[in-house]
């Protein structure tokens, strides 16, 4: 189409090049407008909500909005000297107001996250606050000795920061002190790094296991005549189409102590009736069930690559004297790498965000990072921490998504 020259004019006298450019622009706009509704839909109901949540990982306006006076007063406090009477007065005024507005619980919860035990300090003091008189610092201390403790005020100062590093640091088992230092969380409260590492460990094992099981199967299907391989493909697609919950339930029936596998092992004399294996409600259970659930995601991309490889390459290699192994390893295998890469990254991405299976069959040592995020969303109600953990997980996933796009290309994603 580029061989039109400047001299070409259409009947209305406009340069054809210009016209073409206009028409190209038009079709660009047409294409874009077709995508626009979905883009807008996803922006409103997906992207913005998630960003909204993730921003909570470093924003916490609760204290600053509900206790404005003390927030202002604490701004100039250095965190080392004992707080002034002015700060105490602002605190008492804030407490009275918070009690009246029934927001004292929210404030207390916020400060309690920084220093355990301050919740009741706040609720108790707030109940007595409207009877307090100057000097306020003495009145506070008279109500509860904890007001004398510098740590209490440091925790309040940290809580009053609207932009706070506390949650993101907590997501990697660190904490922020009033002196502005970052220190490690007490040993017996560290959990997130362990969970992140375990999540990666489980995902890597599952990826390798699915590769080990999936590659031969894909190879077999690719080498069989189409009619047979289509039949086998259905055996791969059926689990793919079966509800995740159904498959997890199935593994409970298979692996529990009175389950099919243990029954069979006892019957075969592999183990005694009273020494059945613990195959479920632990990491083993999570690994087995996840491998099963993610196996089709490995087989399908490898198979679709293998289908396109002509058998003549291997035959040629063999005819030139290569052994079976050399022909496979030096000629065939390198050609399947794109499929292996696609499958591996896909399985890894899906595995790392897994929630349901570990929640149902993971017991205590088979829990993953998603489970703790859900715990903070739905049980402990520490949404800020959930957001922080989510942000760390998301960064991790996006890195692999980018990798996938680079090496495989999103447009090459296929289903079944």
């Amino acid at each position: 189409m580029n061989n039109f020259t400047e001299e070409n004019f259409s009947s209305d006298g406009v340069s054809l090049k210009k016209k073409l450019r206009r028409s190209l622009f038009k079709s660009k706009m047409r294409a874009f407008f077709l995508v626009l509704p979905l883009l807008a839909f996803l922006a409103i109901f997906f992207v913005i909500p998630i960003i909204n949540l993730l921003s909570q990982s470093f924003l916490d306006f609760r204290y600053a909005t509900l206790m404005p006076g003390s927030t202002q007063a604490l701004k100039d406090w250095d965190g080392k000297s004992f707080p002034t009477e002015e700060i105490a007065k602002a605190m008492v005024i804030d407490l009275i107001q918070a009690k009246k507005n029934k927001t004292i619980g929210k404030v207390a919860t916020r400060v309690n996250r920084e220093l355990s035990g301050t919740r009741s300090l706040f609720t108790k003091t707030a109940r007595a606050a409207n009877k307090m008189e100057a000097p306020y610092m003495e009145a506070l201390i008279k109500k509860d000795k904890k007001w004398e403790n510098l740590k209490t005020w440091q925790a309040i100062k940290i809580s009053s920061m609207a932009v706070t590093p506390s949650y993101l640091l907590a997501a990697v088992d660190r904490k922020y002190t009033a002196e502005g230092e970052i220190i490690q969380q007490d040993e017996n409260r560290r959990i997130h790094v362990t969970l992140f590492l375990r999540t990666i460990e489980i995902s890597v094992i599952v990826t390798l296991a699915t590769l080990l099981l999936g590659y031969p199967v894909a190879f077999l299907m690719a080498s069989l005549p189409l009619r047979t391989s289509n039949l086998l493909l259905i055996l791969v697609l059926l689990p793919f189409w079966t509800s995740l919950l159904v498959r997890t339930t199935a593994w409970i029936a298979m692996l529990q102590s009175s389950g099919v596998v243990n029954d069979l092992l006892v019957f075969l004399g592999v183990t005694a009736d009273d020494a059945r294996f613990s195959l479920i409600y632990n990491k083993t259970g999570t690994l087995i069930a996840m491998t099963h659930i993610l196996l089709p995601f490995m087989i399908l991309p490898i198979y679709s690559v293998m289908k396109t490889i002509s058998p003549s390459f291997v035959m040629a290699a063999k005819s030139m004297g290569a052994t079976n192994w050399t022909a496979f390893w030096r000629v065939y295998f390198p050609m399947t790498i794109p499929g292996v890469g696609a499958g591996a990254i896909l399985v890894f991405i899906l595995a790392i965000g897994y929630y349901i299976t570990p929640a149902l069959v993971g017991g205590q040592d088979g829990q993953m990072i998603s489970n703790i995020i859900d715990f903070h969303m739905r049980s402990s109600l520490n949404w800020n921490l959930a957001a922080a953990l989510g942000l760390v997980l998301l960064i991790f996933i996006l890195f692999f998504f980018w990798l996938y796009d680079r090496f495989v290309g999103i447009d090459n994603m296929k289903l079944g």
Binding site: K102, T103, R113, S120
Partner: protein
């Protein structure tokens, strides 16, 4: 957008088709035998008396759902049965409606509500209905010479087998300390120190490998029945029901029981607040509380109900008195759950508990 209108229209249609008639409240409780006792003692008589409907829902405790509904401005629950620490926490956070104690009915003996209810049963936003307890239990038919004290629960060499525990630090830490020799009255004093918490976790460490964790109240009796565990902690009423109702050979050990209250609360902005309040008053009257105690072995929260508690609803020979947490025989080493301690330290201890579990 037109599509949206159509969608909304479709929902309204779908909603109408499935929603219940006017004059209906949603009452949320812990499910299983406990909810059943409430249905029999509260819901059914109230429905007969007023002609309104009660929709019963189950949950596993905690404030998460209430908070979600209140924050979302879409409250669908009218009345919720909560633990005391949650009742206090929820009230402080402004999630619950306040309740006027003066409007509660007088006791059957004529005493005003505020003096008829036992200590701590009335809070700013909640009214207690029962006293319940976390105990441990075992299957008599499998253990003829069963455990007697909380020490035996933690002794896996003398009493081999798996142990069931609630997946939460609550009650577990108290029982661990009791098993380690701390007197019932001192449990929270010890637990208030870092060394005390370490001590409790160290005690739990001794059985960690043989623990099966449960979350819902209905699980422990099932774990015992399936033989998955040799003994398990449980809510006393659930075990009682398994042997009274289903004839299971379970035995409760009352040593170091941790007792607590369950209270009714009304979420802020509940859709049928007035009806819910009416139900609350009705269900916490002397007669209803006593009636519930004939279905499950939880102690009524009113003093005036105690004399009316007699025997199991369909077994006149089965007297309820000795099965109550408050029976003197059972109460000797009881630990009163300190709701303030848990409101204060619950987050940190849960964090530590989770970290301990994950190791």
């Amino acid at each position: 957008m037109k599509l949206k209108n159509i969608l909304i229209g479709a929902f309204v249609g779908a909603g109408l088709a499935t929603s219940v008639t006017a004059g209906s409240i949603t009452v949320v409780s812990w499910g299983g035998a406990y909810t059943k006792s409430q249905v029999e003692a509260y819901h059914k008589p109230w429905m007969t008396k007023t002609g309104h409907q009660v929709v019963s829902e189950d949950y596993n405790g905690g404030l998460a759902e209430v908070k979600a509904q209140v924050d979302a401005g879409n409250v669908t629950w009218d009345l919720v049965d909560v633990e005391k620490s949650d009742a206090v926490k929820g009230c402080d956070e402004g999630l619950l409606e306040t309740i006027d104690h003066g409007s509660l009915p007088k006791g059957a003996d004529g005493s005003v509500a505020t003096s008829d209810f036992i200590d701590g049963a009335l809070t700013e936003c909640a009214v207690a209905n029962i006293v319940w307890s976390t105990i441990f239990a075992y299957d008599k038919s499998k253990m003829s010479n069963g455990p007697k004290t909380i020490k035996d629960f933690f002794d896996t060499s003398k009493f081999p087998g798996k142990r069931g525990l609630r997946k939460s630090p609550k009650a577990n830490l108290e029982m661990a300390l009791a098993a380690d020799g701390v007197a019932a009255g001192d449990v929270y004093k010890v637990l208030g120190t870092a060394a005390g918490v370490d001590r409790a976790f160290k005690k739990l460490d001794t059985i960690k490998d043989s623990v099966v964790w449960w979350e819902a109240g209905a699980q422990p009796p099932q774990l015992l029945a399936d033989g998955e565990v040799a003994m398990t902690t449980a809510y006393n009423g659930r075990i009682f029901n398994a042997f009274a109702g289903e004839g299971k050979p379970f035995e409760i050990v009352w040593d170091a029981q941790v007792f607590d209250m369950d209270l009714w609360v009304i979420p802020k902005g509940a859709p049928n607040k007035d009806l819910a309040m009416d139900f609350l008053k009705f269900s916490t009257a002397t007669e209803q509380l006593a009636g519930q105690a004939s279905w499950i072995s939880y102690g009524p929260a009113r003093k005036s109900s105690a004399p009316l508690v007699a025997s199991y609803h369909n077994k006149p020979s089965l007297k309820m008195g000795p099965h109550m947490p408050t029976a003197p025989e059972n109460f000797k080493t009881a630990i009163a759950n300190d709701f303030e301690f848990w409101a204060d330290n619950g987050d940190e201890l849960t964090e530590r508990f989770n970290s301990w579990l994950a190791k």
